[in-house]
């Protein structure tokens, strides 16, 4: 059966220059924080940036951005609201603070609906926050957003490295462009896995230290952007995305 929703997705995303998924395979490595902060940083640099939260069962970008009580404008689709300069869309606009227990097929449906309904403007970058796992959402992303690029996040743990190896193999296997790997939450107790990442054949973009200030910046984008975390991320992005 022809799904009319899928045929409009290309059109809806057509005015966006680059679409970047922040992925890790593993949970809790800082994807959401990096995705949301990346969108804020790009916007602050004067670029048009958007943030799409695809973690439907456990969204967190709304908390990072401190968003509540906003709703997209409906106009033959949805126009995403602008939060601190970032065009933003999350399932929380519709489900509020409730948990949304969804099975795989439902996840795919929500994904398709959000892509088919949202009218992004002429963005330079759309940053996509993804849920952990190498299953449904990753497969849907690869299927539904053709020009997708991947920013891979890991922590300096060999467990994290193991997952990154699988994720990279999967992405390279379908010829999806991988911008590189960011190592997050580096502490004095941990050694960087830079060499190991490079041995996998991926571009190592840099390490971000564990920054206790981050917690206080959650829900307050201004404060968040002033953290060491954000400053380090900003310089990593300058290089990775060749922003001058």
């Amino acid at each position: 059966m022809l799904d009319p929703r899928i045929s409009v997705i290309g059109e809806r995303l057509g005015r966006i220059s680059k679409i970047i998924a922040v992925s890790s395979g593993k949970g809790g490595v800082g994807k959401s924080l990096i995705a949301a902060t990346t969108a804020l940083i790009l916007s602050k640099k004067g670029l048009q940036a958007g943030l799409l939260d695809l973690d439907f069962t456990n969204p967190s970008s709304n908390m990072i951005l401190g968003v509540s009580n906003v709703y997209p404008i409906e106009e033959k689709g949805m126009i995403p609201p602008k939060i601190h300069g970032v065009e933003y869309l999350s399932i929380t606009f519709f489900a509020g603070d409730e948990a949304i227990p969804l099975r795989g097929e439902d996840v795919t449906n929500v994904f398709i609906e959000m892509l088919a309904l949202t009218k992004w403007s002429d963005l330079n970058y759309l940053i996509v926050d993804t849920p952990p796992g190498l299953g449904d959402v990753l497969l849907d992303l690869l299927k539904l957003i053709r020009r997708l690029m991947f920013l891979v996040v890991m922590t300096p743990s060999r467990l994290s490295l193991g997952t990154v190896r699988k994720l990279l193999a999967l992405l390279w296997g379908v010829k999806a462009p991988v911008i590189g790997v960011i190592e997050n939450m580096l502490t004095e107790a941990s050694a960087s896995l830079r060499d190991e990442v490079e041995r996998l054949g991926a571009r190592f973009l840099g390490s971000i230290p564990f920054d206790p200030e981050v917690e206080r910046g959650l829900g307050n984008p201004k404060k968040l952007l002033e953290t060491k975390f954000a400053k380090r991320l900003s310089s990593i992005l300058d290089q990775a995305l060749e922003i001058t």
Binding site: F56, I91, F94, A95, A99, P101, L102, R103, D106, V110
Partner: protein
């Protein structure tokens, strides 16, 4: 494109639209009529809504929207993204959030002309 083969007589077409499908019925009908006119076809479109129904994956209970006492705002959200129902509804019999939408999505032709069912 030839219009010669266009059927001359008036045809009745019934289209069913799921209640959970975000479609403006009037606009959709207008678009269909314009399209049929382009091909010199005389079609009378009737658009009917299909009410949404849910089935519990645990105990099998089937229920409809009307049985739910939902806020208009939540109703609206469910119309935009039906899966959002999982945040607000539970099986009325066993309380499970593990249910599926069995009716009320999609758009299809129900019948064409007299007695031709699709």
């Amino acid at each position: 494109m030839t219009t010669e083969r266009g059927v001359r007589g008036l045809i009745d077409v019934t289209i069913r639209i799921g209640e959970l499908q975000q479609i403006d019925l009037e606009t959709f009908k207008f678009a269909l009529e314009q399209l049929s006119r382009q091909y010199s076809m005389h079609i009378k479109f009737e658009l009917k809504e299909e009410r949404a129904e849910f089935r519990c994956g645990v105990c099998g209970e089937v229920w409809s929207f009307e049985r739910e006492n939902l806020d208009p705002e939540i109703r609206e959200a469910i119309h935009v993204i039906p899966e959002v129902a999982h945040a607000f509804m539970r099986c009325p019999r066993c309380g499970s959030p593990d249910f599926e939408v069995i009716k009320g999505r999609g758009v299809w032709i129900e019948s064409i002309g007299e007695g031709i069912k699709c």
